[in-house]
């Protein structure tokens, strides 16, 4: 087991290096963050050149990558253009905890992300918990009534939801629960942002504003989990050891919720683990529709108003989370399932 974990950890290192190189290359291709200055009559050409040089944009790209990774405080640049390198850089590099500075906000990327990450976590974790509770519940419910009317209905709705983009669920939810409810004189749900603009920052207010975004985020995932849990349960229910349990005279309840569920939950745990990174990256579409000030919106805004330092950290964070959670679920799986022997 220790050997297996060590090997998996070591395998993750080259993967992380490749991912980082791909992401850096990609973000370099995004374009010149100073392009908007080129047409600005208030900025002199010399100043622009000086800025480019001091930001390190004149360095060869592989060298820029090294600087971004381990910093440039050991590297001299020729800032006065006399052919002699004179000034050391100021960055310390990602590996030494310096994530760079946002062009848009003029402050460290860490601070920018620290501001929006909690909002995304509130939305993401709530949606995640709701998804698992309802998804697993509905899945078990359907599996125990295979091919009944309710099971078929759940299958039908799931198929329908699978074919929907998330923003359509969100738009429908807004239309029905906010717009139509208001028309019909029912209590309408709010759709904009986390808090009332007038500053009513209570927990109740937040909870009410969570309902629609959480519903939009969870609906399709619930269908996915329900189908998955159902298939997983059915496989176990039809296996020999469940027949044995029944033959021994165990109660249905014990068979279903102890013997079956325990074995059926293994693949579900993998799915749960692999869904965790998505919480971090936020819900790009849902956050845009509901004006939720989270990571997803930061990402879209940083794409619209080009802000490479933020983009690169955002993409790197999500990729890192994916790699680590994959590693974690693999190890967890090996640990939970006694049938698997890893050496």
């Amino acid at each position: 087991m220790t050997y297996y974990i060590t090997r998996r950890l070591l395998q993750a290192i080259p993967l992380l290096i490749i991912v980082t190189v791909i992401i850096y290359g990609l973000l370099k291709a995004v374009g010149d963050p100073l392009a908007h200055l080129a047409n600005d009559p208030l900025v002199r050409a010399e100043d622009r050149a000086h800025l480019r040089r001091s930001l390190g944009l004149d360095d060869p790209i592989p060298l820029q990558f090294v600087h971004w990774l381990i910093g440039d405080d050991w590297y001299q640049r020729d800032l006065d253009f006399d052919g002699v390198p004179d000034t050391y850089g100021e960055r310390r590099g990602v590996l030494r905890g310096d994530l760079g500075e946002s062009f848009r906000f003029n402050k460290p990327v860490v601070d920018v992300i620290r501001e929006v990450l909690p909002n995304t976590l509130i939305l993401g974790i709530t949606a995640y918990v709701v998804t698992i509770v309802f998804g697993v519940g509905i899945g078990i419910f359907a599996a125990l009534r295979q091919y009944s009317f309710l099971d078929n209905l759940i299958t039908g709705i799931s198929f329908f939801l699978f074919s929907m983009p998330i923003f359509l669920v969100a738009l429908l939810a807004v239309y029905i629960f906010a717009v139509k409810f208001k028309e019909w004189g029912l209590p309408a749900l709010p759709t904009g942002g986390m808090y009332d603009v007038r500053g009513n920052r209570t927990l109740d207010e937040l909870l009410i504003r969570l309902i629609l975004p959480v519903f939009s985020l969870a609906a399709i995932s619930i269908a996915r989990y329900a189908r998955f849990v159902r298939a997983s349960m059915l496989e176990v229910i039809n296996s020999d050891y469940i027949r044995t349990a029944r033959a021994k005279g165990l109660s249905e309840r014990r068979i279903n919720y102890v013997h079956s569920l325990k074995n059926a939950s293994l693949p579900v745990i993998t799915l749960m683990g692999l869904d965790i990174p998505a919480i971090l990256s936020g819900a790009v579409v849902t956050e845009t529709i509901f004006g939720w000030p989270g990571m997803g919106r930061l990402f879209i805004d940083s794409l619209t108003i080009l802000d490479p330092p933020v983009l690169i950290i955002f993409v790197l964070m999500t990729a890192l989370a994916v790699v680590l959670m994959q590693l974690f679920t693999d190890i967890l799986y090996a640990w939970l399932d006694p049938r698997i022997h890893y050496t």
Partner: protein, 317 residues
């Protein structure tokens, strides 16, 4: 278990001999099993209706009409003149849904063509040759799978769709972003298929018929094309079918924040996108393309399911 299957097939052969019929070919078995799948047939009919809608509809409305703006007539609800209403610059939504549907379906089919070509090629190469080639290719696949597809796509499309020029594609003036969207969707979705094909090839490689082919000196290329590839067709066909649906939804996801195909060229995604800020007032603007997207993807998913069951050799019926 083995006994019952044996006696079943023996019985089937006996009944065939009795009726003096020839046994079914693989194709006949496939067709029979596909059409027995009720939802798959329903999906096929639904998809055909949608294709008829976007093709035949072009006979009633011209593309220049679909792209013609009339700012005084903007955001109008459905009426006799505009059965599905007008959009934020007064274009007719029915006409745009017709031409947008053509582009959405085109994007779905062509991007899947790229995606399965690359996926199959990488999977075959990786599985068949193994060794260093396999390690390098699979590390790249893993790395690309570590970046969520939507995020990767949004970064790529935000860079590449800045160019607003139009160009002549298939005899029509279309936004050049159509080609870019097709390319980036194709190039970011091939990884899962590459993995499936690779694992299939790995198990095929050890089977007797491949070993035999190798023993009599058949060239690698012929082994791959004549023996390995035909045995990988089932997962390729299924993931191609389902991929068309995913690509159509993906295009809509990219259009939603404004990084998809740019106007004047319509797609179901970019008809819908401006409605996000006025959900309540312009319901027709998102409900019409939204319904079309859902129906198309639903139909494709049903067909894909039917194909999967019909092509699965383990569920022979």
């Amino acid at each position: 278990m083995a006994e019952t299957t044996l006696s079943n097939s023996a019985r089937r052969v006996a009944s065939l001999i009795e009726e003096k019929r020839r046994p079914e070919s693989m194709r006949q078995i496939f067709v029979r099993r596909f059409f027995k799948h009720r939802m798959a047939v329903f999906g096929l009919i639904l998809l055909l209706l949608i294709v008829v809608f976007v093709v035949a509809g072009a006979a009633f409305y011209s593309e220049s009409y679909a792209n013609q703006t009339a700012i005084l007539n903007k955001n109008k609800p459905p009426s006799a003149e505009h059965p599905f209403g007008t959009d934020q610059v007064g274009r007719d939504i029915l006409a745009r849904a017709i031409y947008g549907g053509q582009i959405s379906l085109l994007i779905g089919v062509t991007s899947v063509f790229i995606s399965i070509s690359v996926g199959t090629l990488v999977g075959l190469t990786s599985g068949f040759f193994g060794g260093l080639v396999d390690s390098v290719l699979m590390r790249i696949v893993e790395a690309l799978l570590s970046i969520p597809t939507l995020i990767l796509l949004l970064v790529l499309s935000s860079v590449l769709t800045r160019n607003t020029a139009t160009m002549n594609i298939l005899g029509r003036e279309l936004s050049s972003t159509v080609i870019i969207i097709v390319l980036i969707i194709g190039m970011t979705t091939w990884m899962p298929l590459a993995r499936i094909v690779r694992s299939l090839v790995l198990s095929l490689k050890e089977q007797e018929f491949i070993v035999a082919a190798r023993a009599i000196g058949v060239q690698n290329r012929s082994i791959i094309i004549q023996h390995v590839l035909p045995n990988c067709i089932a997962p390729i066909v299924v993931s191609a079918t389902l991929g068309i649906g995913t690509a159509i939804i993906t295009e809509a996801y990219l259009s939603f924040p404004g990084f998809g195909v740019l106007p004047p060229t319509a797609t179901w995604g970019n008809i819908l996108s401006p409605a996000k800020d006025m959900v309540g007032t312009v319901w027709w603007m998102w409900m019409v393309p939204g319904t079309l997207i859902v129906l198309t993807v639903l139909a494709i998913n049903f067909i894909g399911d039917g194909l999967r069951d019909a092509l699965d050799p383990r569920s022979m019926r």
